[in-house]
């Protein structure tokens, strides 16, 4: 350990520490421009200068690359230091008069423009981009080109680099925003990583927490895009993680768990409105979906909660409901059930944030069925939102002329709009069929999971121990989902809470000697209680049916179907029934 003093305050730091690191430990601010904790120090910007005193000597050194020694005395804010920093900033300001962060720093040091002849660069040649590309990414796509006052940062022959991974590390470290990766540096197109949670309206880093309040609330590495996992370079996050928690060896894994019951609560997808080109979604950036609007107004969303379209606040907002829902004779004949209410909420939010906004909602039938819903709709109407009825078979068209959107609907005046929000249908998840097959449950014609009975068994499926909750079973709003989920949970618990479970008294049993292994019963069993298994019969391996008694409901379908009368209901074999009849007769 080494004892030093920073601004007369004693401090103990490890050997090999730089003054800058020591100052950070002691909470003493020192401005820097070319320093980055993940990179070797460069010592080029000279902004981090401090004064050191030893014996009678006083010297100016750069703190980012000066290693401390025992007894060192450092002063970080003397007149001489401030003067040097101020001149550095004045010179940089003359070079880059339009760079925000230089302007801010200059102001902090009381620097004014005007004494030097100005240029209009925005690169301060700190070299962070060059160094991160070389030192960390192991690529070296760009470098310093030329010397002295002619020095600039460029790729070989000023042509976009093939070697560039378009990883964007340079853009991230550049303090002045001078790098145009796409146009200048790279021949490979940068692919910004879209935040799925923000409906693709913002980007995300390669390592990120999936969304605020994620469970567990831990960042994950996007392994397809991580430079280390792609090429072996980078590992910058590791440098920053003080908890040393980064583990590049973690892999996706398939976990097998033994369970007693399953609740299928896999949610839903949203209808892709690009399938209906008349709404202009995907064509005009001003046309967005309800979910996208939801992210737009969220405080943790891409605009921090500001309603902005193309960077501007919209004045005229049009909502269109039933986009993809209630298609008579179509694939989605059902009502998505949530759109009426969330559209009303969205209209209310627009009004709340943009007082003068003109809002219209195209609806077909207003279904405000829940508790307090009708009242809410009325309030939204009172706030000034215009509800406009349209027939579903009368298409609405969104067009754009001279940068302005127009919404045309039969029986209504053509409406100008700055923003159009589509209430898209709730649709079954893409993988619902696959999951249904895996769980051996059924789908209803609309593609959602089928419940055992629409009225009496709305959370059960026909397969014992498997229950349903939420929109996996059909569109529903949050209160309904919560109620159904509670029901499913209690059903599941009622099975799991018992040490033993009561089976049907009458279940099927297979007479293995008779069974030919034809598999007819396996197909016929509505509860999936029968499988074929292999047995040894007189030295030969043969397949015979086998009944899972926990699943068998004793319905008798199998015994009725069995051609060799090998499956019989326990206690109700054909012989027994016939004998009983004979006894009675």
């Amino acid at each position: 350990m080494i004892n030093i003093k920073i601004n007369s305050v004693p401090l103990e730091v490890e050997e090999g520490t730089t003054i800058l690191e020591a100052a950070k430990k002691g909470d003493t601010p020192i401005p820097t421009l070319c320093h980055h904790p993940a990179l070797d120090s460069f010592g080029a910007c000279r902004l981090c200068v401090v004064e050191i005193h030893y014996g009678k000597r006083v010297k100016i050194v750069t703190s980012c690359n000066y290693e401390v020694w025992d007894g060192l005395e450092v002063f970080t804010d003397t007149d001489r230091v401030r003067k040097s920093r101020a001149m550095t900033l004045e010179l940089l300001l003359a070079r880059c008069p339009d760079v925000r962060m230089i302007k801010d720093l200059a102001r902090e040091y009381g620097v004014k423009q005007g004494r030097f002849s100005e240029e209009s660069d925005n690169c301060i040649l700190c070299g962070l981009c060059v160094r991160i590309c070389k030192e960390r990414m192991g690529v070296g796509a760009a470098d310093f080109v030329g010397r002295g006052v002619d020095m600039k940062i460029d790729t070989p022959y000023s042509r976009g680099s093939d070697a560039c991974l378009a990883c964007g590390a340079c853009v991230t470290v550049c303090p002045t925003g001078a790098i145009d990766l796409e146009k200048r540096f790279s021949r490979n197109e940068p692919v910004p990583l879209k935040s799925v949670f923000n409906a693709g309206m913002s980007t995300k880093p390669v390592i990120a927490t999936p969304f605020p309040q994620a469970v567990p609330n831990i960042p994950v590495i996007d392994s397809a895009n991580c430079v280390y996992l792609r090429t072996g370079g980078c590992r910058t996050c590791e440098t920053f993680c003080e908890a040393k928690a980064i583990d590049y060896d973690q892999k996706d894994e398939t976990v097998e768990v033994d369970v007693g019951t399953i609740i299928a609560a896999t949610g839903f997808d949203l209808y892709n409105p690009e399938e209906k080109p008349e709404y202009g979604y995907g064509k005009y950036p001003e046309v967005i979906t309800g979910l996208e609007f939801e992210r737009l107004v969220s405080a943790s969303g891409p605009t921090g909660g500001k309603i902005l379209i193309n960077g501007k606040e919209p004045r005229k907002v049009v909502f269109i409901q039933c986009v993809g829902s209630r298609e008579e004779g179509g694939k989605r004949e059902y009502c998505s059930r949530v759109c009426c209410m969330y559209t009303a909420k969205h209209a209310h939010l627009v009004k709340e944030r943009l007082k003068d906004a003109e809002i219209s909602i195209f609806y077909t039938d207003l279904r405000a069925f829940g508790k307090g819903y009708e009242e809410f709709v009325n309030r939204v109407k009172d706030e000034g939102t215009t509800y406009r009825r349209r027939e579903l078979n009368e298409p609405i068209e969104v067009t754009k002329k001279k940068g302005k959107l127009t919404v045309t609907a039969k029986g209504h005046p053509a409406l100008e709009a700055d923003m159009v929000i589509l209430a898209t249908a709730v649709v079954p998840r893409e993988d619902s069929l696959e999951l249904a097959r895996k769980l051996n449950i059924s789908l209803s014609p609309d593609g959602f999971f089928l419940e055992a009975h629409p009225k009496l068994k709305p959370v059960e499926t026909l397969t014992g121990g498997i229950f349903l909750a939420g929109c996996a079973q059909g569109p529903k709003d949050i209160p309904d989902t919560v109620s159904q989920a509670s029901g499913a949970a209690s059903r599941a618990i009622s099975i799991l809470s018992k040490d033993t479970i009561m089976m049907e008294a009458i279940t099927a049993a297979v007479n293995e000697a008779k069974c030919r292994g034809c598999g007819l019963c396996v197909e016929i069993c509505p509860f999936n209680a029968i499988e074929l298994k292999e047995i040894n019969r007189l030295g030969y391996t043969v397949k015979v049916a086998s009944v899972n008694e926990a699943l068998c409901k004793g319905c008798g379908s199998c015994s009725a179907a069995c051609l060799s009368q090998a499956v019989q209901q326990k206690g109700f074999t054909d012989t027994q029934i016939l004998e009983a009849i004979r006894g009675i007769v």
Partner: protein, 625 residues
Amino acid sequence: MLLKGSKDVERLKGELESRYSRFDKEIVITTNATCCKLKKSKEVEEAFSRELKKIASTKKINMRLTGCLGFCEIEPIVIINPQGILYREVKPEDVAEIISESVLKDDVVTRLVYTSPSGSAYANKADIPFYKKQLRIVTGNNDIINPTSIEDYIAAGGYSALARVLETMKPDEVTEEIKKSGLRGRGGGGFPTGKKWETCLKAKEEDGVCYVICNADEGDPGAYMDRSLLESNPHSVIEGMIIGSYAIGSNEGYIYVRAEYPLAVEHVRHALQQAEACGCLGDNIMGSGHRFRIRVSRGAGAFVCGESTALMASLEGKVGRPRAKYVHTVERGLWNKPTTLNNVETWSNVPLIINRGAGWFAGIGTKGSKGTKIFSLVGKINNTGLVEVPMGMTLREIIYDIGGGIPQDKKFKAVQTGGPSGGCIPENLLHLPVDFDELSGAGSMMGSGGMIVMDEDTCMVDVARYFINFLKDESCGKCVACREGIKQMLHILERICGGQGKEGDIELLEELGAYCVDTSLCALGATAGNPVITTIKYFRDEYEKHIKEKQCPAGVCKALFQYSISTDDCNGCGACRAKCPVEAITGGKKEAHSIDLSQCIKCGVCFDVCRFDAVKKVPLKGAVL
């Protein structure tokens, strides 16, 4: 011819001496250095060869082709020994006469001897004032050595220091001897050489590997001492390096020399081969078990690559850009290993110190600066050339006694020492001795030995602008202080020279100069303010004239004056009219001429050609200059 120790060296030396003593006469021709080659010395050499063949049967003549003897102004030089007669600017047609008069007879060809600016003739080299006041210990052997011959070097006492060191001294004793001598680096910094070796040795003990480098990057405008040494006496540098390698225990050395010095590279490479063939380099040097080899690396000629860390980066194959030296290169230098870097001249001094003793060396010079220093004396001076003087000689002695003063009886104005990062010293400080500390005290520095003399026709603002412009081109551009600071200083100086100077410019220049010193990463930036600061310090009035009165007293800054022909003085000879490149001068025969100012590009040709001083520089504001 393998040399296995001092006995072999002595024996060979003796053999060579007796071989040379059998000659009747010796003709020394300076033809093995760039400066004389440029003046067609090769043709002189060929003429001598031809003529000597004719008299081969009558006289035994040795022709010795040497490198530079320093007095570049009068090359090619021919010296006839043993008389010691020096002939200047010899041409092939002079050769026959020299042979018949001075070789076959003992007479002097008077028309070819050197005549000083004051008109005195000197037949003997030893009497010429240029040489008389010098103390040529490093360059002294140049006139008895053909740089491509290791034998000449050995005959002059070469490699005996190495033999002595290997046989009788322990490495730390060598370092101790160098420390005692007081030798300081000749590359600019003036760091004590022995101390450097000592630190390196200490760092090497931990690391195991260390390197020796010779800095021959020499980028200062007007300076060519190092080139001359490498061209004219390469073995002295190599021997110094081998001794150094023994002292610090290094097995690998480099000579970093700029590619613009092809002859130096050729001579050094040749010398290295010879040294290896003689066992002075290699796996078992002179049978001592010491292993050392030297490689030549050619730099691309960036001034900043002379800076130690940039030089090492360049040697490693990286861009020649300095790094912070908070950890010194003697501890972590080339490839992060302890490295001893010394200048060409520094290395050349080492064998001398070993041979003649630290005490002898320390007896020359001043308290803080020992030995001699070579300067390249250029600019407005009569005797241009390389001069070697003992430390402590005053600038006045160098300029007037050795340099022969200012041509055309113009007035001395300033002398610039220390290269672009040095400073300008005015007349009233000419009593300053050449001494590391004295020159630094005056705001200049010893530097590597450039010495540019300026006369009254020099504009000091323009001089500052010239050097800052040089530094602008040579700054590596890494750090803000140097790159942006120099750029802005240049803008301001250009403005002042262009008549756009304003109140506060001088103060701003001073502020920038001081800032560069404080804040730059390497010594290039940290000394970049010197030309500006010293010219302001000693010639402030000139700056003020430029700024306040928009006048350039020396008549150099073109934006501040115009040419005009005085009708009284012009006799219409037409010389200027004939020479003007843009035909801006009109006037009939025998009539006063005049200049069309709208066409004039101020090239100054008319001013130079007019024999009647009729062309005047007229300030745009103010009186005739």
